[in-house]
Symmetry: C2
Subunit: 371 residues, 2 copies
Amino acid sequence: MQGKLPDFYAVIPAGGIGSRLWPLSRADAPKFLHDLTGSGQSLLRDTWDRLEPLSGSDRIGVVTGRAHRAAVEKELPGVADLNVFLESEPRESAAAIGLAAAILHRREPNVIIGSFAADHVIQGTNRFEWAVEQAVAVARAGYICTIGIPPAEPSVGFGYIRTGDELEIKGAPEALLVKEFVEKPNLETAKRYVEERTYLWNAGMFIARADVILAELEKNEPELHAGLIELAAAWDDRNQRGPAVDRIWPGLKKIAIDYAVAEPAAAAGRLAVIPGHFDWDDVGDFASLAKLNSRGRGSDLAILGENARVLADASSGILVSQTDRVISVVGVKDIVIVDTPDALLVTTSEHAQRVKGVVDALKLTGRGDVL
Amino acid sequence: MQGKLPDFYAVIPAGGIGSRLWPLSRADAPKFLHDLTGSGQSLLRDTWDRLEPLSGSDRIGVVTGRAHRAAVEKELPGVADLNVFLESEPRESAAAIGLAAAILHRREPNVIIGSFAADHVIQGTNRFEWAVEQAVAVARAGYICTIGIPPAEPSVGFGYIRTGDELEIKGAPEALLVKEFVEKPNLETAKRYVEERTYLWNAGMFIARADVILAELEKNEPELHAGLIELAAAWDDRNQRGPAVDRIWPGLKKIAIDYAVAEPAAAAGRLAVIPGHFDWDDVGDFASLAKLNSRGRGSDLAILGENARVLADASSGILVSQTDRVISVVGVKDIVIVDTPDALLVTTSEHAQRVKGVVDALKLTGRGDVL
């Protein structure tokens, strides 16, 4: 299928496990392979379906671990072998996106790539497409462009983007310069950000010409850049690729693209942002998952699981059922229950962020078999 | 082993499932077969061990359902075949205890029987024995005697016994007449009962001569009495017993011994009570089970389960683990979690009494397979 944007190529980094969604998310069943919205398909497939009309099905790549190759290809039967970029081990987002940029730049020097997480939830297709179309116009003009979400509430779970002056770019009437990226704030600061109306949520989307990303990487992380260029040169030769990955990949610096590319570009006035007027969530923890699935009825217990056999009374929160057990929930509020064959989690929305600590503790106490 | 009280025979009705402890208690694994205190053995066996020094091992009988015969005999390897009274179906306590009384009276006309629930928890052996010894002295004098517990708090989960005048009976210095039995009160009334110091918890223990129980039954429930006498006449003939049970038992009236015997006897001045100065609990629901296992540390999560693999943080309440799953509990207070192979319950101490409603709802919705 041909996409709307002929010079655009979509990259989906599918790497993170989503530890704060344990025991739903696992090393062998990461967050992006789950249906977290009741859509009937995985977040990864949702992401593909969202991008395909823009890029065309031949121009969507996935960067993922070798361990996930089979699962990814099952979820995305339309993905071309050429467009699956396998990491031998996780090296964070700068290496993942940089690798795609380096390979694609060799194949097609003027390509514009857009990177979109495999495990976010977006509602509002037309508005998403309009934001990406504007971002691509900004990228054509030589900027690195992100898409930021006008905050619906003073979230302390997201990073923020401070916006600056309007940019005058044809086809991108909403484009703004970015002044800076800021880390997850405390509640007071988050409230100020919302009031000032000049901050957007950082949704982790980056759209830019491959050569622009590479130039930025070369400036800020020259060793990482050199490794990626060397790897890309070997990539499309089947005999060279495997040995090159094994030789180069494990030595690459682990660094987020925010630090390696976006923040330095913002400081230099080369980063732009399009406000995205669609619903977006990174579903970072069970509180977020509960909210997403409560459909506004916070007084009910949201239930995720195809074969759930649940008897709930006077309860609210979220229940994830991955077994065929009968589950009875009585009189518990804002509860989080995740029932899987080998592990059970019971917590509350309020403590959802602490699940990552549970995962760390399980590692430390030798129970990594359930991670 | 010879007991301290040669005319005494202990009867253990082991019938109730304990629905409010679902999914721990089941039709095929009733409450009395579980270790609810971490003692390392079942409540039934605890009950046996408590009574044996008083009656001797040859003089303890169990009234139970045919379905539980094998389990009961496994728990009580010392029980004589002669002392297992099998019901073809549950008929409540008047029929169960009345059957034992009728059979034992034929075997031994002057026998004193004492009935003690199979699924209560008692701590304080010497004080328990002293109460039973007094009760037997009172029973010898022709009274029906119960043992009541001075209330430690204004519980609304127990019935109460209103005490009257002191009885002058040798060997029973604490014996009192009973004025009336009262049903589970509301909190206000329970508080008044505790303040007035003339009320005791009804712990469901009855000690009396078999002939006295039968006379009371004959007066109040003549049809039930006649059925039991007919059944008892056939009981010790192996060829007659089975047909007699099948013919008579299903037609017997279902009524609690409290109504059929104790309340009318109290009204007629024939019921006495010994205050029992031992710790007693009927472990009627998970709130009670949590309290029993918290050992005063209400801020902790009590864990029941031999092979429990639990990671708990900032949580209190009780967790019962009957699987080998890893269970993580984070930031939940007064929680009740019962993890079994085919059913999971999550509730709070406050809602523990509602578990019976869950069982009813599961029956109604065709999920009786997990009951």
